[in-house]
């Protein structure tokens, strides 16, 4: 199943199947400059969509290969690690690859009308090029097995994200400050991350994750490695918007074009969470993580704080997109909480929540974008009463909203259920109760949306027309997915369990 990397002899992969890992990155990466090269607006969207769809197909093929717990190692240019760069696909990141490419592929049809209304026409080619670069970056972060390569891909995705957020300036100039803030913060985060990698290189003399893991396993930790751990967690925590390093996120998601908000909310922070998972469990030994006070005494309280503080802020928001952004911060709290439990069920909860929250938030941001298309903005006083004028959009928002709360029968319930189970297994019943109580806050802020949409009269001056079909269909695909994955847990929970098993096995998952 897995392609065994040859140690001495450079093996040239020949079949398409064996080239899949690199194609995963190359396809969107090459498509981006192609768009600019052709410069034709009519070709822009089809190329983007094709690249994303092919990526999705590749990622599914990869997931199927590793679903039973194996892994694929691909050496770029035939250079064996630690010299060369290695792409390494196992259940954990194949799962993420599918999530990111699937969401991108569903969002793109939606983006066509949405972007047309929010971004000036002359910017469309560059917009989609940036989008593909961002997509490439996120996929690269997830697929690569090389520490420095992660940094490179993080930068690719970040730089293009800054541009994508700034593209919202046509509608609201504050998009520029939001992009600027994110640029500063993102750069600092990436810098911390690269410093951490530098420390690791200093201590182990290699950049390949598997090798680093092996060396740490052999020699144990020292001060340098501990410092590296701190830098990497904080650096990536910033990209993941772990509370209180979330300050860039609300503005960025609020002012970015709706399609970008939907895409970023569903994928960008998830990729960062994946990197944290990978480092905490695969690179540093689990023993190391267990010993570290950082997780239990810093990240865990912060996660709980995020669940409450961000939810409270979300309750008082008067703009739907901003509310969703704060709720994302709270939801990231749940994911971080799962990591800090340091148990297999906890990590399963994190991974399955990555997926479930990804589709839920994508649906909600798409819904918000559709409302904004007709109402002009997503402020509550503009979108009120739209349950009557846009029944289909509003109904989809209701479904996704229920999933955000974690109502049984929706995807959100599954992940919260597993998280509570994990907390109880560990004996942290107080934490379990807090998870349940913070869900009550979600009830409040989601209820406010329902109330706005259904119990108020429509505002004057809004266009009373349902969203176009090209936006409704992707929206409903996501909304129905939240219900589907609320019942069929085989795909999500099953894959998440395999992934968590692999991660929790620690270095063994990484070493040959």
């Amino acid at each position: 199943m897995a392609v065994e990397p040859a140690i001495e002899v450079t093996q040239i992969a020949l079949t398409l199947k064996e080239q899949l890992p690199i194609l995963q990155i190359v396809v969107p990466f090459v498509a981006a400059p192609l768009i600019v090269f052709f410069g034709s607006r009519s070709l822009t969207w089809p190329i983007t969509f094709a690249a994303s769809a092919i990526s999705l197909w590749i990622s599914v093929a990869l997931l199927l290969q590793v679903a039973d717990g194996g892994f694929i190692s691909y050496q770029i240019g035939g250079w064996a690690p630690p010299l060369g760069i290695e792409y390494r696909v196992d259940a954990a990141n194949a799962y993420l690859l599918v999530l990111i490419s699937a969401i991108s592929t569903v969002i793109l049809p939606y983006a066509r009308k949405s972007v047309a209304s929010e971004v000036a026409r002359r910017h469309h080619t560059l917009f989609y090029a940036c989008y593909l670069l961002c997509f490439t970056g996120l996929m690269g972060v997830v697929i690569t097995g090389d520490a420095f390569n992660i940094f490179v891909f993080v930068e690719i995705s970040s730089l293009s994200t800054y541009a994508l957020i700034a593209a919202g300036a046509g509608r609201d100039k504050r998009a520029l400050t939001a992009a600027y803030d994110y640029l500063i913060m993102g750069t600092i985060g990436a810098t911390f991350f690269v410093i951490g990698i530098g420390f690791l290189y200093m201590a182990t003399g290699t950049l390949n994750l598997a090798d680093i893991a092996e060396r740490i396993a052999e020699h144990g930790g020292n001060r340098t490695i501990h410092a590296a751990f701190a830098f990497i967690i904080v650096g990536m925590g910033l990209k993941a918007a772990i509370y209180p390093m979330h300050l860039w996120l609300p503005a960025a998601y609020t002012y970015a074009p709706s399609a970008v908000s939907a895409f970023l909310a569903a994928t960008a922070t998830k990729a960062a969470i994946y990197v944290i998972l990978r480092f905490v469990f695969s690179v540093f030994q689990p023993d190391f993580a267990f010993q570290s006070l950082a997780l239990e005494f810093i990240l865990m309280p912060l996660a709980v704080l995020a669940m409450f503080a961000a939810s409270f802020i979300a309750v008082f928001q008067s703009d739907l997109k901003r509310m969703l952004a704060y709720s994302s911060v709270a939801q990231i709290g749940y994911m971080v909480l799962g990591i800090t439990l340091l148990t297999q069920t906890g990590v399963t909860a994190t991974i399955v929540h990555l997926f479930n929250h990804g589709i839920t938030k994508a649906a909600l941001f798409m819904g918000a974008g559709a409302l904004a298309l007709r109402a002009g903005s997503s402020f509550y006083d503009r979108i009120q009463g739209m349950g009557r004028t846009m029944p289909l959009t509003s109904a989809a928002i209701v479904i996704a909203g229920l999933s955000l709360i974690g109502v049984p029968g929706t995807a959100g319930f599954i992940s919260k259920f597993v998280l509570v189970e994990a907390a109880l297994d560990k004996g942290w019943w107080l934490v379990a109760l807090l998870v349940v109580f913070s869900s009550l806050l979600a009830v409040v802020y989601v209820w406010r949306v329902f109330e706005t949409l259904y119990l108020n009269a429509p505002a004057a001056g809004t266009i009373r027309q349902e969203a176009p079909l090209s936006m409704l269909i992707p929206l409903w695909i996501m909304a129905l997915a939240t219900i589907y994955f609320g019942f069929d847990t085989q795909l999500t929970l099953g894959a998440a369990r395999t992934a968590a098993e692999g991660l929790l096995a620690g270095t063994t998952g990484m070493l040959k």
Partner: protein, 566 residues
């Protein structure tokens, strides 16, 4: 057993089909058909575990059929039928769908074989029923509904928490007899207790039921509380604590009922009192007592529904159900009056009416197990019930001083629904054997003995005598336009007041403290900026700057923590 599916799904399907049909007779007919089909299905179901589904590694039992769940399902089906018949005239989609889902969830909960399934349907009843209150579409109803929903959902959350803990303790999720003791069972007990309107947890009932629509109250009165009675009978039969809780429940509502003006709220208080009899029966826990509790629940659903229907009809025709506004209606609503009197006689336990043959099971169980004090309390409560439900309701609505109102008789479908409920109440009272055959245990109890009939008549007639004397001496409290304080005052008045009073103080302290620390923090950041940042004085980079500082602080803390743990 592939042809068996959960009865609840039939109702949910019905709710969906309702949306497809045009408003009017077609919908009304479907509303009658579904309970009939459901009832037939319930009647012929074999016993056992009939339908389950695997979910998240849990085995969810949707159809556990035994005698206890069947008898409740039978009466729920009848009540759903009567409620929908009574609501034949309603053209409001929201109410029709809510009533259907509500009835379906309640029946689904009866057949739930595990705590998770129970929880799902438990919350289903809460979510669906609140729409029967909101259907009134006034500001007051909206707030009342919110209060109701919070309490009901709170009960569900407790149930889920209890179920999770229970699973941890015992490794099982089966919903079966439990003993109080662990945190888990207390949570579950409390969840049931909220829905069963235990003393101090009761006030949602009196708050919400009179706030629903004319037909909504009739439907509400059936399911939620009796579902809780079923759950208690299943989970906590023989828990001695329940005897005392039940005794208090039979007592305190009758005092409130005497001075309450809104006759539908009087009925809500008396409903609470009747639940007390069932809770006592469950607490005693012998075969006789449990039979009594279940039989009483069965008869209770019919006569309490009947009473709510008659008061609903009065409200429907006059626009009010307040004792102070009503009187003399017998002249133009004689049939409604007669049905109301039948309901009143049943709840009071007159011989030949249903209350007589069911309540006595509980009373005699209390003497058999030598709970004499409880027996005195229950006897008092029986007399009190007659006083406020048996006399007060018909008297103030249909007789008393003439209000001058001359409303038309209730519409035919309402009369029909009331007629069926009245006929069933009398039938049970005259010939209880078929009901006894449905009960979970064999009944060896003879109701119609000379002492029993004579003593019961003595009790009731002397209560009536007391009423007559008090009325003639003008000692009886007149019906006044007023509200009476109950425990809801704590969260509707006291708590908001306290918050309003304390919050500004706390807020100013909080902001003062916050300002102090913020100033210190700002000073720190400012000085850092002054020394380190060339553009430190520019206000525009402030937010970014503070973000960066946060990261630095976090990094420092993480580093320290890491080194400490080395």
């Amino acid at each position: 057993m592939a042809d068996i599916f959960p009865v609840a799904f039939l109702y949910f399907l019905g709710a969906a089909l309702l949306l497809l049909l045009p408003k009017g007779p077609a919908r009304g007919s479907l509303g009658l058909l579904i309970p009939v089909l459901g009832g037939i299905m319930v009647w012929f179901l074999p016993e056992g575990l009939l339908w389950n589904v695997r979910f998240l590694g849990l085995e969810l039992e949707f159809m556990r059929v035994d005698k206890l769940s069947r008898v409740f399902a039978v009466i729920f089906s009848i009540a759903a039928f009567l409620g929908n018949l009574y609501a034949w005239h309603v053209r409001d989609t929201m109410q029709q769908v809510a009533a259907m889902i509500y009835a379906g969830s309640a029946i689904g909960a009866l057949f739930a074989g595990d705590l998770i399934t129970l929880f799902l349907f438990w919350e289903g009843t809460a979510m669906a029923s609140v729409f029967l209150i909101w259907a009134r579409r006034t500001e007051g109803a909206y707030h009342t509904g919110m209060r109701y929903l919070i309490v009901q959902v709170g009960s569900g959350v407790l149930l889920l928490a209890g179920a999770a803990l229970y699973h941890r303790e015992t490794g099982s999720l089966t919903f079966e007899a439990m003993t109080l003791g662990s945190l888990a069972t207390w949570f579950i007990f409390l969840a049931f207790g909220i829905k069963a309107a235990f003393p101090l947890l009761h006030n949602w009932l009196q708050d919400a039921y009179p706030a629903a629509t004319v037909t909504g109250t009739v439907i509400l009165s059936t399911f939620t509380t009796k579902l809780a009675i079923y759950a208690l009978a299943r989970g906590f039969a023989g828990t001695e604590l329940l005897i005392y809780i039940g005794a208090i429940m039979t007592l305190f509502p009758i005092f409130y009922a005497v001075i309450e003006n809104d006759l539908r709220r009087v009925l809500a208080y008396s409903l609470n009192n009747q639940l007390g009899f069932m809770v006592v029966g469950i607490g005693i826990g012998t075969e006789l007592a449990l039979n009594g509790a279940v039989a009483h629940a069965f008869a209770h659903i019919l006569y309490k529904g009947l009473l709510f229907m008659s008061m609903g009809a009065v409200l429907f025709r006059t626009g009010t159900a307040k004792g102070s506004e009503l009187g003399g209606l017998y002249k133009t609503m004689p049939l409604t009056m007669i049905f109301c009197v039948v309901g009143a006689a049943s709840i009071s336990g007159f011989p030949l009416f249903s209350g007589f043959v069911t309540k006595s099971l509980v009373l005699s169980a209390s003497t058999k197990e030598q709970y004499y004090f409880i027996w005195f309390v229950l006897l008092f409560a029986s007399a009190g019930v007659f006083h406020h439900s048996g006399i007060k309701i018909p008297y103030f609505a249909f007789f008393a001083h003439d209000s001058g109102l001359r409303p038309k008789e209730a519409p035919k479908h309402m009369l029909l629904a009331m007629g069926i409920a009245a006929a069933l109440s009398i039938a049970i009272g005259v010939y209880p054997a078929p009901l006894y055959a449905l009960l979970p245990f064999e009944v060896k109890y003879v109701n119609y003995t000379t002492p029993h009939v004579v003593t019961q008549l003595q009790l009731l007639f002397f209560s009536a005598l007391a009423f007559a004397v008090l009325m003639r001496t003008h000692t009886y409290p007149p019906e006044l336009k007023s509200v009476n304080l109950d425990t809801d005052w704590a969260y509707r008045r006291f708590l908001p007041r306290m918050i309003n009073r304390v919050a500004p103080g706390l807020w100013s302290v909080w902001t003062a403290k916050l300002n102090f620390w913020q100033e210190r923090f700002n000073d720190l950041v400012r000085s850092l900026h002054h020394t380190h940042g060339p553009e430190g004085r520019l206000a525009s980079v402030w937010p970014t700057g503070s973000m960066v500082l946060w990261i630095a602080v976090l990094l420092a803390v993480t580093l320290v923590a890491n080194f400490l743990s080395l």
